[in-house]
Point group: C2
Chain length 235, copies 2
DNA sequence: GCCGCACTGTGCGATACCGAACAGACCGCC
DNA sequence: GGCGGTCTGTTCGGTATCGCACAGTGCGGC
């Protein structure tokens, strides 16, 4: 498919006033996001940042023993590589493509310069970071207080929000890694949702026939995150 | 005790170059942090931010049913109210004094103006926020992957890092709330650490006789957070 | 001094979750 | 077409944690 990609498909870039956008446009390079591609590994230098237009990138932490757990999801609502703005030149975390698509890449120093202008771009990015912080903290709280089934529901909805269809192409192992459990744990959660008629799952494919039913079933953490994104970020 | 308080006891303020410090100094007002004082409630307008010099403030999230869980700890290493920099004028989270002490309060708009200058203060605060993000994400990961006992150990060490003594004055209920468990859960964790000879607990008092022994027992999450703070923030 | 109340410590049954082991399905390579 | 490896789905027992119920303790108000 020869899709008409545009940087404006990314909400942060879309919200930029013309002047700033014109400055960045020549530097933006489209980059394919292949499923499973590790955008950043632990400790990598951050030479580029990525503004997804389609597809989803997961921010996660990998323990020394190899056990992973997801921290946040980034889609066309945000940008991957925020540490660039913050003064760290590398990332202590990992970012991996969780759902294939495309992104616009930008050299870190170009972006850092734009950020330091202190204009609307900085303003926008800071608001995004605050929304991202909410997502992270809510992940922490949800991990602590809620059942696996609820966390899975939240995660499915957050993923769906960043994708055009109601079908998620994802293996059992991917889900397990994101939730920070074994394959059996993921399976158990999927089964429960399946039995409740909220999803249809088969071999690496999750279909959510009725979003609203799933939203009614999820814990409040999902709404907290969504509300905060809506509040802080323009559409 | 008539202690000689100085804003420089806060590491962020201490790291400011003279020019910026002189600008802020006349605006800083000392504020006592009484144990349990809710610095911010959910949704409060952020009219002031607080730079602790002594004492510890907990950032936490309270669910609709009242169940709380801690997200991060702030001591003299940081500042409470970062949403001010980010563009949100209120906070979706709660902040409460977890260990009594003092802080310097500053009007939000003064701080926002200083931040917008884009100088060393902005630079410093952004690095702090990145460190804080690490603490939050590590809380998320630890909540997901590690045992209550390990989380308690991590939390005790993070608290100790922000206090001068090796004794923590804290009730069972406070610990339970921070960890997001019931009183029995907190008790169980304390007992285990006690049996292992790592702490001495009695009626609202936790003594850590040998930090190193506790550090050897804690999960890697503690070191990740500490390393990141050391890397990003000057001493 | 008396009493109420919030905090502290204990016990136990129910359950969600973990961990390892195993069988079947799909895919690529030869 | 045969073969091996990876991914998928299932089973089962052990265990950490939860949820609830109850007794002891200290501190306040009256």
């Amino acid at each position: 498919m020869l899709s008409p990609h545009s940087p404006r498909q990314n909400q942060l870039l879309a919200a930029l006033p013309a002047a700033a956008y014109e400055r960045l446009l020549p530097e933006l390079q489209i980059a394919p996001l292949a499923l499973g591609w590790p955008v950043y590994e632990d400790g990598d230098p951050l030479d580029k940042v990525y503004f997804p237009t389609t597809g989803v990138i997961s921010l996660l932490h990998v323990m020394k023993d190899g056990a992973p757990a997801e921290i946040a999801l980034v889609g066309n609502d945000g940008v991957v590589g925020i540490a660039v703005f913050m003064g760290g030149s590398n990332t202590p975390r990992k970012a991996v493509v969780q759902n294939a698509g495309h992104a616009y890449a930008l050299k870190s120093d170009v972006l850092r310069d734009e950020f330091r202008l202190g204009g609307p771009f900085q303003h926008l990015v800071l608001r995004y970071i605050q929304a991202l912080i909410t997502q992270m903290t809510q992940t922490a709280v949800c991990n602590r207080l809620h059942s696996l089934e609820q966390q899975l529901s939240r995660w499915l909805l957050l993923s769906l929000d960043r994708l055009p269809s109601n079908t998620l192409q994802m293996t059992q192992k991917l889900i397990a890694d994101m939730l920070g459990v074994g394959p059996e744990g993921a399976m158990e959660g999927l089964e429960k949702l399946q039995r409740a008629g909220l999803i249809e799952y088969a071999r690496g494919r999750v279909v959510v026939p009725d979003r609203q039913k799933l939203e009614a079933h999820v814990c409040e953490c999902y709404a907290v995150v969504k509300t905060e994104f809506d509040r802080l970020l323009p559409h």
